[in-house]
C-alpha cells in the first residue's frame, strides 16, 4: 500500500476507550474500568480496506464506535481528513457524520421496522438536507437501490418483507446515500447465510472500486477479513497485537495469538485439513475488567516465559512491509512461525 502512503484518510493515535464500572444501587462506587480500547494506533489510506479482527470482547467494535465518536474516546486522537475529530462539538460532529458511515451486523435490527425502504435509505439525505426537490429525492433513492442491486419498485415496502441479504443491501444503500469517504463495516456479513455472504462481500468490493471508498472492516471471521482487506490488524483485549498485510499475516504470522487464530479456522478441504497442525489455545479470554499484567496474552500463550508476565511488549516493526508485532518473542525466535 506504499503508493497510498501520502494519501492518508484516517489516522488513529493512541486511542483509548474506558468504560467505568460501578457497584451499588444507591451509592454508586466506581470499582474499576473496562479498557475496551487500550492504546490503539493505525492509519488508513484513501481507497484502502483495513481489516480489524479479533474475538468477542477484544474491542474491535468499540474501536469503530470510538472513531465515529459514538462513544467519546477517553484519550487519543482520531485524525480524519487532516483534523482531529475528537474535539468537535455536537453540531460539527453531526455535519461530519455524512463523511463517515456505518454498516451494521444485524440486518434485522438495524432497520426501523416501521419505516419504508424509501424512508430508511432517504433518512441520512433528509438529515443532511441533501434531498433536493421531490423528484430529485425519488431519483436519488431509485438510483441507490439499483446501485446495491435492489429493484427500485420495492421502494415502498417494509423491511420485514425482505430477506437477510436484501436487508443488508438496504443498510448499505443507506450508508452510501450521503456519499461518505469512510465506511466502517461492523461484522457486515456474519449474520448472513453462507451463500449470501459472498454476494454482500462482492457488492462491498464493487462499491469500493466505483466510489473510491475506504473501509474499516471489522469481523471475527479471519477468512472473510483476509479476503477483503489489504492490511489486517489483530486485536486482543483492547490492543493491537499484530499488524500485517494480508499475505504476511497468513504466511508468516508472528504473534502466537495470530497463529492460534489462523490454526483455529478450518479450511474447507479435508486434504489440507489432514495436514494442518491444530494448535489449540488453552483457557479462555480473561475478563477485560481485570486483564493480566505484562503481555495480556500470557495466560494463554504456549510460549510464555518470565518477561511476558512482567513487561508489556511494544508493537515493533519486524519487516519492511510494515509488519508489526507486539510480542517479546518475535524478535528472538523468527523461525517459530507457520502453523
Amino acid at each position: 500500500m506504499s503508493e497510498h502512503n501520502n494519501n492518508i484518510l484516517l489516522t488513529v493515535n493512541n486511542l483509548t476507550l474506558y468504560f467505568p464500572v460501578f457497584k451499588g444501587i444507591i451509592f454508586k462506587k466506581k470499582i474499576g474500568e473496562v479498557k475496551a480500547v487500550d492504546g490503539v494506533s493505525f492509519s488508513i489510506a484513501s481507497g484502502e480496506t483495513l481489516g480489524l479482527v479479533g474475538e468477542s470482547g477484544c474491542g474491535k467494535t468499540s474501536t469503530g464506535r470510538a472513531i465515529l465518536q459514538m462513544d467519546h474516546p477517553t484519550s487519543g486522537e482520531v485524525i480524519f481528513e487532516g483534523a482531529d475529530i475528537t474535539k468537535l462539538n455536537k453540531y460539527e460532529l453531526r455535519h461530519l457524520r455524512k463523511k463517515m458511515q456505518l454498516i451494521f451486523q444485524d440486518p434485522f435490527g438495524s432497520l426501523d421496522p416501521r419505516m419504508t425502504v424509501r424512508d430508511i435509505i432517504g433518512e441520512p439525505l433528509l438529515i443532511h438536507k441533501l434531498n433536493g426537490s421531490k423528484a430529485e429525492y425519488r431519483e436519488q433513492i431509485d438510483h441507490l437501490m439499483e446501485t446495491v442491486g435492489l429493484n427500485p419498485r420495492m421502494v415502498d415496502r417494509y423491511p420485514h418483507e425482505f430477506s437477510g441479504g436484501q436487508r443488508q443491501r438496504i443498510g448499505i444503500a443507506r450508508a452510501l446515500s450521503v456519499r461518505p469517504s469512510l465506511i466502517i463495516c461492523d461484522e457486515p456479513v456474519s449474520a448472513l447465510d453462507v451463500s449470501i455472504q459472498a454476494q454482500i462481500i462482492n457488492l462491498l468490493e464493487e462499491l469500493q472500486e466505483k466510489f473510491n471508498l475506504t473501509y474499516l472492516f471489522i469481523a471475527h471471521d479471519l477468512a472473510v477479513v483476509r479476503h477483503i482487506s489489504d492490511r489486517i490488524a489483530v486485536m486482543y483485549l483492547g490492543e493491537i497485537v499484530e499488524f500485517a498485510d494480508r499475505k504476511d499475516l497468513y504466511h508468516s504470522p508472528q504473534h502466537p495469538y495470530t497463529q492460534a487464530l489462523i490454526a483455529a479456522v478450518p479450511i474447507p478441504d479435508p486434504l489440507i485439513e489432514a495436514e494442518r497442525k491444530h494448535v489449540l489455545l488453552s483457557g479462555e479470554v480473561p475478563s477485560p475488567l481485570n486483564p493480566p499484567a505484562g503481555c495480556k496474552f500470557h495466560t494463554r500463550c504456549p510460549y510464555v516465559h518470565d518477561l511476558c508476565r512482567k513487561k508489556t511488549p511494544q508493537l515493533n516493526q519486524v519487516s519492511d512491509r510494515g509488519h508489526r508485532v507486539a510480542c517479546h518473542l518475535s524478535a528472538k525466535a523468527p523461525d517459530r512461525n507457520n502453523p
Partner: protein, 324 residues
C-alpha cells in the same frame, strides 16, 4: 462396521397459518457405529428439524412427522411409545444444542443438571453418579470440577457452558450424539477447542456423531461423511474426501465457490450463488434450487430429482451431471 442409525423417507411438515412448510421432505440416510456425519446447509434447509425429528422433539402443533422410519439400534423410534422414547433420549441418543445459555436451567446448579440424565436412566447411587459427573467434568477440561459442580450457569463463560453441555450429552454413554451448531455462538479459538474435544471424546467412547453446521470448514476437518441439504431435501451425499474433491451438485459447487478461504492468496472475486434463499411455503416447482442454478435445464423446472448414485459412496439429486 455395523449400522447404528437408518433414516428412511423421513418427512416432517409444519402446518402454519400461512401454509404448509415441508421442513424435511423425504430424506433417507444411514450412519454406522462410531462414524461422524456432517449435515451441512443454510438456515431453513431443514437440518435442525431433521435432528429434532430423530428424537421426536418436534413441537406439535404446528409440526408433525408425517412419514418415514427412524431405525436406531434396530428399533423404529417413530412408533415407540412416549415412555420408550424417553428411555432413548439423553441415554442412547443425546443432543447438544447451539445456545448453552438458554439450554440450561438458570436456577439449577451445573452439578444437578449433569446428574439428572443418570438419575433418570441409570440405577446408580448418588455417590456413584457424583463420581462419574466429576470424572466427566475433568474429561471436558473444566478446571476445579468439585467446586464447579455447585456453580450456576451464569457463573460459567459461554465456552465453559458448552463444555458442560458436552459432558451432559456424554453422561449416559450414548451411542449417538447430535450436535446442532454446537460452536456457532462461540469464538473461533474456543470453537476449535470444543470441536477437538468432542472429536476426541467420541473417538474414545466409540460414539457416533452428527454435526449440524453451516460451516464447510468444520465438516472438512471433522466429518467422515457429509449430507448437503437444501430446502428440506438432501441434495448431495458423499464421503467428505470425495465431496470436497469432486462436488457434483450445483448447490454444493456454488457453496464452495462462495466461501472465502483462509488459504487463498490472491484477492480473487468470490462466486456467490445468485438469488435469495427459497421461501419454504412457496417452494419453486421441480428442483427447488433451479431458480438459483446456473446449470438449469428444462427438466429441472417440472420434475423433482431424486438421489441417484454417481459413483461409490457419492449420490446427488440433480438432473444434470456436473463434472468438475
Amino acid at each position: 462396521m455395523s449400522k447404528l442409525l437408518e433414516v428412511k423417507n423421513l418427512s416432517t411438515h409444519f402446518f402454519t397459518d400461512d401454509g404448509l412448510v415441508k421442513a424435511v421432505d423425504n430424506i433417507s440416510y444411514s450412519l454406522n457405529e462410531g462414524e461422524t456425519l456432517g449435515l451441512v446447509g443454510e438456515s431453513g434447509c431443514g437440518k435442525s428439524v431433521n435432528a429434532l425429528s430423530l428424537l421426536r422433539l418436534i413441537p406439535n402443533p404446528p409440526g408433525k412427522i408425517v412419514s418415514g422410519k427412524v431405525i436406531f439400534e434396530d428399533q423404529n423410534l417413530l412408533t415407540l411409545s412416549e415412555d420408550d422414547i424417553c428411555r432413548i433420549r439423553g441415554n442412547r441418543m443425546a443432543m447438544i444444542f447451539q445456545e448453552p445459555m438458554t439450554s440450561l436451567n438458570p436456577v439449577m446448579t451445573i452439578g444437578r443438571q449433569l446428574m439428572e440424565p443418570m438419575e433418570i436412566h441409570r440405577q446408580m447411587t448418588r455417590g456413584e453418579i457424583q463420581e462419574r459427573c466429576l470424572d466427566l467434568l475433568k474429561r471436558v477440561h473444566i478446571p476445579e470440577a468439585p467446586t464447579r459442580m455447585n456453580a450456576y450457569p451464569h457463573q460459567f463463560s459461554g465456552g465453559m457452558l458448552q463444555r458442560a453441555m458436552i459432558a451432559m450429552g456424554l453422561t449416559c454413554n450414548p451411542r449417538l450424539v447430535i450436535a446442532d451448531e454446537p460452536t456457532t455462538a462461540l469464538d473461533v479459538t474456543i470453537q476449535a477447542q470444543l470441536l477437538e474435544l468432542m472429536k476426541d471424546l467420541t473417538r474414545e467412547f466409540g460414539t457416533a456423531l452428527i454435526i449440524i453446521t453451516h460451516n464447510l470448514g468444520i465438516v472438512a476437518r471433522y466429518a467422515d461423511r457429509v449430507n448437503v441439504m437444501y430446502a428440506g431435501r438432501i441434495v448431495e451425499k458423499s464421503t467428505a474426501m470425495d465431496l470436497y474433491k469432486n462436488p457434483r451438485h450445483p448447490y454444493t459447487i456454488g457453496l464452495m465457490a462462495s466461501v472465502p478461504r483462509l488459504d487463498q492468496d490472491m484477492k480473487k472475486k468470490l462466486k456467490p450463488i445468485e438469488g435469495q434463499p427459497p421461501d419454504l411455503i412457496h417452494l419453486p416447482s421441480g428442483c427447488s434450487f433451479h431458480p438459483r442454478c446456473s446449470y438449469r435445464v428444462e427438466r429441472c423446472l417440472n420434475e423433482t430429482p431424486e438421489l441417484k448414485t454417481v459413483n461409490e459412496n457419492h449420490e446427488i439429486a440433480c438432473w444434470v451431471d456436473v463434472r468438475t
